[in-house]
């Protein structure tokens, strides 16, 4: 039996303790959601639009189901930590979700006013997107991952 508590540093890529195995065990469904959304929402949105509704529904449900599975894995990972690490990780998650939500709403509101089209011109992404919006699961995954890393560094320093 493995009685060692989980260490959150194993998920931080530029940390010495980073472990591919732990990262895979915790984040595989997050990665799956990101890949599905990146392929169908960013790379092939035109292809997706022309598919029958049941296929589009299946793709969206696959993304959201993968996120739910990731939440279960993350909760399991956090529960096996010691008290201090659990506090730091929960605070980092809290920071990550709140900051992503804030950026998400702010971005959508500015997009609604046509701010990005005026400042940056029409979208010039190679992935044929017709909007500056960041309302896909892939965008949310990137925001959540980035803010989690930042939050973890902040709260780890605070608890030292």
């Amino acid at each position: 039996m493995n009685n060692q508590p989980n260490v959150p540093d194993e998920l931080i890529m530029f940390d010495k303790q980073f472990s591919w195995r732990t990262a895979w065990n915790v984040c595989r469904w997050w990665l799956a959601a990101f890949v599905i959304s990146a392929v169908f929402d960013l790379v092939l949105p035109d292809w997706k639009i022309h598919q029958p509704l049941r296929w589009r529904v299946t793709i969206v449900f696959a993304e959201f189901f993968a996120i739910l599975l990731f939440v279960f894995d993350a909760v399991k990972f956090i529960r096996r930590m010691d008290e201090l690490q659990r506090r730091i990780t929960t605070a980092a998650f809290f920071f990550s979700v709140s900051a992503s939500f804030f950026v998400f709403v702010l971005w959508l509101r500015l997009e609604r006013e046509g701010f990005f089209n005026v400042v940056f011109g029409p979208p010039f992404s190679p992935f044929s997107t017709t909007t500056w919006g960041i309302a896909s699961v892939a965008h949310a995954c990137v925001l959540l991952g980035g803010f989690y890393g930042l939050g973890f560094l902040i709260f780890k320093r605070r608890y030292k």
Binding site: V60, T90, L108, V118, A135
Partner: protein
Amino acid sequence: MTRMLYTVVAMNDKPNLPGEVDPRTKEFSLQAQWRVNHWAFAAIFLSVAGDLLVHFHDDANHWPVALRAIIALCPLLPALFYVRSLGRWLRGMDELDRQITLKVILFAVSATLYLDMALPPLREWGVIRSEEWLLNWRSWWLQALPLTGFYLLGTMIFNRRFK
């Protein structure tokens, strides 16, 4: 000297209670509600006022984008102040209440973010129409509804778990 050491300052030592802002509980107090949430109310008011201003001006589409961006960003500052007052309220709680409330807030924000991500495909399928000017899902103030709903739901779930 003794008098300096034992200066008595009128101080409120009572910890904050999560039920103070929940209208379903006995502890609910309008004063506490206002103390914690007044910046949220200000953000909602500014957001609705901005939407009304843009909607009821026929030439709003011709306004400079900077002006429209400023109107759109008006609720940002009160929202940030709200986060600060929420943090202060949480710090005034005892250990157990703070843990429960933090989990409830984490649940509410995550669920709202999850819902927001689900809205573009729903719009694509015609389930919701984003053209509704006041009920536009990209409005600031509309985010308060799922946040409050999920907060109340989260309170029920986590209070039962910690009982």
